[in-house]
Amino acid sequence: MERKRKWRNQCRADRIFDIVNGILMVFIFAVCFYPLYYIVVVSFSKQVVGSYLVPNGFTLAGYESIFQNKDVWSGYANTIFYTVAGVLASLVVTLPCAYALSRKDCVGRNLVMGFIMVTMYIGGGLVPSYINISNLGLINSRWAIILSSLTTAYNLILARSFFYTTIPDDLFEAARVDGCGNGRFFVQIVMPLSKPITAVMALYFGVARWNSYFTEMIYLRDLEKYPLSLILRRLLWSIEALEQMIEDGLIENVSHAMKEVELAGIMQYCLIVVSTIPMMIIYPFMQKYFAKGVMIGAVKG
């Protein structure tokens, strides 16, 4: 009897927990989801204010003015270029090196690994790096963007542990007996077996490239070389400046200026949607690869 009551109590405690947990999950979901949803809604609205669940007056004016802006187009093209070229270059540098580092018969691999890992803890910092790029004559060059972040120690270690665990030593021995050298072995046998890590690497490098702005901001000078992120930042700051000028009473035709701010306000929401869409489309499909990368990385060494 006593025992039975205890059991029933237990169940109730668990049931309460499940309900509370369920409510929390809904809340967490909403907190992450609503801001993103709200941005999309506003981007289709006539007015920012009042568009909470559905657009306050549906219009495509924001998108129209965005697509008429040639800076947006060039920014988009530049971002795509930096991402695609950057990812390809990063893969070419990272994967062969990581594979070589995973080979137990490669003399000196620990030395090279140490040489690379040092940079995880010690760095030149912003200013010496800037001077370095400047002395190389790469200021305002697209090369500065591609070359200055070719690979990272973290990604090299990640790829190395993948090769370590998936490519058995015997495989190369067998291939060597058949007269296959390291180069052919890597291209014809290792690469086809390494699709998952190639996907993870491409995504990691790709997301970093797509989202980057600071490197571009300090190394690039010409507007036509700017990626989308910098174009967006310019728009945001110009609106802030305009709002400040209205507030400070520096503008005579206030109603006209207000209209401009209103449209520019919608435009920034549109620009955010446009620049995030590629990421949000590929993201749900790639999510498991991302998480997988974190798991491989969690294994020490």
């Binding site: 912003l126 001077i131 999510q287």
Partner: protein, 310 residues
């Protein structure tokens, strides 16, 4: 001995291709990482633009002294520590709690959906995050900015622009960071939780432990090693508040309460062209970070050896 050496050479010759594989990465690290590390010496020199590293005259600790005596020293140190500690205290426990709670969701589809949604903000770029924050907080059109002013008006207070209120900056910085990183931060803990022995949980259930008890006494202890390592690493980053986000969120009206070491380095170094001075500031930053990391690791090693980094 000689025989041994020739054996090594033979091994290297046989696998020469592997060294070719490593070459691009090694060249990259020398040119873009080791050369700047060598260039840190300008912190002790008077560097002039156009000079190569190593060509400038030595001046000792002049730049460090100037930084310690400047009015900005206290300000940037205080702001950096404030952001960092606030981020640690509020941001660090949340991913752990989220992982524990997600782990209790038994419906796999619900769990997947919530997980996917909470990871999503991590992939939004800094410019977009900060742009969104700025837009949401705008007093005239922003959804949060208007709500704040609505509440203030109801309380009989005047309207404000949150973005130009100094003390609000740290909260904007930390809360937006929590929104962006909590979900992604939970990945590593969820991975650790998948290693919990299901038999142990079953036995506890048989013995009458409810879900909360099982979570606290079985699941949580499994996470402790991961938590400790993450915590040590976070402590080593104590003064590393990156410029990317602060720079986008700050504005000239709240510079006093938002300038951190890294943005100060950017402003004085790249924008102000005081190359040697700003390098000294950032070297000071790195030295403090390394010191904290070593101290924290030593303490951890004293407490429990297997949980320390080295």
């Amino acid at each position: 001995m000689k025989n041994n050496k020739s054996k090594i050479w033979k091994k290297i010759r046989v696998n020469w291709m592997l060294y070719l594989f490593m070459l691009p990465a090694i060249v990259y690290y020398i040119v873009f990482h080791y050369v700047p590390i060598y260039g840190v010496q300008i912190a002790f020199q008077d560097y002039k633009i156009g000079q190569a590293f190593g060509e400038s005259a030595w001046v000792g600790f002049k730049h460090f002294q100037r930084f310690f005596n400047s009015a900005w020293f206290g300000t940037v140190l205080k702001n950096t520590l404030t952001l960092s500690l606030l981020n640690l205290f509020l941001g660090f426990p949340l991913p752990i709690i989220l992982a524990l709670l997600l782990n209790e969701v038994k419906n796999m589809r619900v769990r997947k959906v919530v997980q996917t949604m909470t990871y999503a903000p991590h992939f939004i770029s800094m410019v977009i995050l900060c742009g969104t924050v700025t837009m949401f907080l705008s007093p005239s059109t922003g959804i949060i900015g208007m709500a704040i002013n609505g509440i203030r008006q109801a309380m009989g207070l005047n309207s404000i622009n949150v973005l130009s209120v100094g003390p609000a900056f740290k909260w904007i910085y930390v809360l937006s960071g929590i929104w962006q990183q909590t979900g992604w931060g939970s990945v590593i803990y969820l991975a650790a939780l998948s290693g919990v022995d299901p038999q142990l949980l079953e036995a506890a259930e048989m013995d009458g432990a409810n879900k909360v008890q099982r979570m606290i006494h079985i699941n949580f202890p499994v996470l402790i090693p991961t938590i400790v390592i993450q915590l040590i690493l976070k402590c080593g980053q104590m003064l590393n508040v990156g410029y990317e986000k602060v720079y986008l969120l700050q504005n000239s009206t709240i510079l006093q309460s938002s300038e951190v070491i890294s943005t100060y380095v950017y402003r004085s170094g790249i924008q102000g062209a005081q190359y040697s001075y700003s390098t000294a500031v950032s070297l000071f930053n790195s030295v403090v970070n390394a010191t904290i990391l070593i101290i924290v690791n030593q303490i951890t090693r004293k407490l429990s050896k297997e949980n320390s980094l080295w």
